[in-house]
């Protein structure tokens, strides 16, 4: 056999290889993105039916922030539930655990890929939401600022969701279980980002104050919960 030299790669290099593996798998099959995209579209259809009897003067802007986040939470659940299926199918996760590496990189790469997929689906489904529901009303000119709470909220969802999805990937009845663990834990974040999103879409007097407070709280949630998830991940992944 030829000369074999092995140099222990840096954590960043290993993170890139892991993330590259996630993206390559997904862009080959597009299983997760397709199912999330279709699901998002169907949720929009349901919104259409749900709002079909609302009165003429009903201001859709007041609830649009909430509807957007309902869409994101349900769609992300679908993706998170699938995010460990390729690791479990042939026990590939065990192969990774046998590699010389810092195991929190598994959390980091999974959370990053889940975030990327979630943002991609948002990129498609949110313009659709605008097209279906907001073209007749007039969002405040500050509506583009909603991208900030969208990013902060998605980061929190991907981070906490990755930890909880790892837990439920080993459990029976994992689909319902993930929802049951995930939604109460994500509730405070949801409360904050819905407030931040709504206020910039509706506009109004104390826009900056409410927006900044909500966003800061959502950011605080992200920092605390991501640090906690990172710290607890080693316990979840090794047995």
């Amino acid at each position: 056999m030829a000369e074999l030299t092995i140099v222990r790669p840096s954590a960043f290099k290993q993170f890139r290889v892991l993330l590259g593996k996630e993206l390559r798998q997904e862009f080959r099959t597009r299983e997760m993105l397709t199912s999330m995209g279709i699901y998002a579209l169907l949720v929009l259809v349901i919104f259409g039916a749900a709002l079909s009897q609302a009165a003429q003067g009903f201001d859709i802007l007041q609830v649009s922030g909430g509807l957007i986040w309902a869409l994101i939470v349900f769609t992300s659940l679908l993706g998170l539930n699938r995010s460990f299926s390729s690791e479990k199918e042939e026990a590939a996760l065990e192969g990774i655990l046998l590699m010389p590496m810092d195991r929190s990189l598994i959390f980091l790469s999974k959370a990053t890929s889940n975030l990327i997929f979630l943002l991609l689906v948002e990129l498609i489904s949110l313009p659709l939401f605008y097209f279906f529901f907001l073209t007749i009303s007039s969002p405040a000119p500050s509506f583009w600022m909603a991208s900030l709470p969208l990013l902060v909220g998605s980061i929190g969802i991907a981070g906490v969701g990755t930890l909880l999805a790892t837990i439920t990937s080993n459990a029976r009845g994992k689909d319902v279980l993930l929802a049951l663990l995930f939604i109460p834990i994500i509730y405070p974040l949801l409360h904050a980002v819905v407030a931040a999103t709504t206020v910039v879409v509706v506009g109004g007097d104390n826009l900056v104050g409410t927006f900044a407070t909500s966003l800061a709280l959502a950011g605080g949630y992200d920092v605390v919960m991501l640090a906690l998830s990172w710290f607890l991940y080693e316990f979840v992944i090794s047995n």
Partner: protein, 249 residues
């Protein structure tokens, strides 16, 4: 005891595995109970026992996938509790599950592994391994379409990527067709030179034939640990039937 301390380092170098009072328990449930044995370098250890006897748990502890709850274990001179990462770069595992990503091609799976271990010329290493398992022609096909035997060959190539000094095999023959068994046999014959192999086996004759050392577990305890040449296969079968029972094999 004081006399042996001085020569201990030399002994450690010559041992592939040294387990002393190894236990793995949770509460009152003992998966492994006071397991002690010493396996020299260049050995082929076959592990036998019923389902639930602790074979897989022992393999998981030795390969750093599970932490022992009692005792001391050194694999290749490295303590599994204290230096798991160092140890991981020197061992490989082949189990009855392939540990591959079905949607990636054979080559992508191996390249991923090579890059994670830090192999310096990953492409060359992967080509070499594909050649070894005779699957160069299928390198660009996703693993999902492979037969059980082909998948297992890629799984072997995967375990060999960092050229491990110790290879663990967890029932590698389960579910293989005769042709694949033949290929795996040939590979193991080639691999055993310069390497240590530890295999869980369901097949008494086959496991006996390959081994240099035998370990029989019963209810988490060592029922037998011996060099193979101390026994012939008939008396081994007899021992196994009498001490562990005939069921399961």
């Amino acid at each position: 005891m004081t006399d042996t301390v001085a020569i201990a380092p030399d002994i450690h170098l010559a041992l592939a595995i040294q387990a002393e009072g190894l236990g793995k328990s949770f509460g009152s449930r003992k998966a492994l109970d006071n397991v002690s044995f010493e396996l020299p370098e260049q050995a082929f250890l076959s592990i036998f026992g019923h389902n639930g006897a602790g074979k897989t748990t022992l393999l998981r502890v030795l390969s750093t996938l599970a932490r022992p709850s009692a005792g001391k274990v050194e694999v290749l001179g490295l303590d599994v509790r204290e230096k798991p990462e160092e140890l991981r770069s020197r061992i490989g595992l082949i189990s009855h599950r392939s540990m591959l990503y079905p949607d990636l091609t054979a080559e992508e799976n191996l390249l991923f592994t090579a890059r994670m271990y830090g192999v310096q010329n990953p492409k060359a290493r992967v080509s070499e391994l594909l050649e070894l398992v005779e699957l160069t022609a299928r390198r660009h096909d996703p693993v999902r379409g492979f037969s059980r035997g082909m998948t297992q060959r890629i799984a072997i190539a995967r375990a060999l990527v960092p050229d491990p000094a110790l290879l663990f095999l967890d029932e590698p023959y389960s579910g293989l067709d005769p042709h694949a068994v033949e290929i795996l046999d040939r590979l193991l014959e080639r691999l055993r030179f310069g390497k240590n192999l530890v295999m869980i086996s369901h097949d008494l004759n086959h496991g006996f034939a390959l081994a240099t050392h035998l370990l029989v577990l019963a209810q988490g305890k060592v029922a037998l640990f011996t060099e193979r040449d101390e026994l012939d296969v008939r008396s081994f079968r007899e021992f196994y039937r009498n001490s562990v029972g005939a069921g399961g094999i």
